[in-house]
Symmetry: C2
Subunit: 133 residues, 2 copies
DNA sequence: TATTGACCTTCCAGTCGCTGTAACCTTTAG
DNA sequence: CTAAAGGTTACAGCGACTGGAAGGTCAATA
């Protein structure tokens, strides 16, 4: 199949598919005599797998390792485990950071003053400076 | 003061300070005869304000507007209000997304198999594909 | 005085994961 | 015959820095 069919079936932009090939995440497919990329049915599964991983925010480099590890049936599962565990840890870190961020933004509340001189938000942002000194 | 002193006092990397000047967030300072940047004490406050905003994840373009609005005492406070509200909304959106992400990653659990053929994580990642079809 | 090392300058490239654009070629339909 | 749709490559841009190269300047020490 051609790239646009693969794009439709995998739900990944054709441009993105070429990009994945470029960065070595996807192996280069056969080419037709006109230079068009020609994909196999199995490529759909690979790309769907990749998309699933991306939806879990797993970095391309890690996905690459997950794909490689699947090609080698004797490879240890520890690699997979580590990647997922790290990803989970990172998501949890990000969650904690966002929670703090939300709190900080909440304390700024909203301001209904008409002139910035009286703007409570700006005053609080500046007060943070003072508090820090 | 020279850039490294400003960097120390504001807790912002000298390289980042030059970058802020380049993108127009910080106005270009005077230059000494040797070409070195020469900053005023007030620049420390400006940079601390910028850093505080960055810690709240506010984009540079928005911070630029916050800085500009402060220079104009007649400007409306609505701009400030809008920027903070949008930032808060975005943080809350990100939080909801991360919560879903965490759930998905949790369902993959950890795998203690030795061979990828039996790897429960990979099987679950693939099962997601099947479920979708 | 020579030199070392710290600090300053500019400019260019890389990060991450795409996405937009330009310029061109091929295929298909009307 | 022509136009639209789809394929190709290569390069640039996003955001917010960061690293490195190549060079100029300055203060302190041997």
């Amino acid at each position: 199949m051609k790239i646009s069919e693969l794009a439709t079936k995998s739900q990944i932009n054709a441009k993105t598919i070429r990009y994945y090939e470029q960065v070595g995440l996807l192996s280069a497919p056969q080419r037709a005599s006109n230079g068009y990329r020609h994909y196999q049915p199995g490529d759909v599964d690979t790309l769907i797998f990749i998309r699933r991983c991306r939806e879990l925010n797993i970095p391309l480099d890690d996905i690459k390792r997950l794909v490689e590890v699947q090609a080698d049936p004797n490879a240890s599962c520890a690699v997979v485990d580590k990647i997922i565990a790290e990803q989970l840890a990172q998501v949890q870190r990000a969650q904690r950071e966002l929670a703090l961020l939300e709190q900080s933004l909440q304390t700024l509340a909203s301001c209904s003053a008409e002139q910035v001189e009286k703007c409570s938000i700006l005053h609080k942002l500046k007060a943070r400076e003072e508090a820090e000194k």
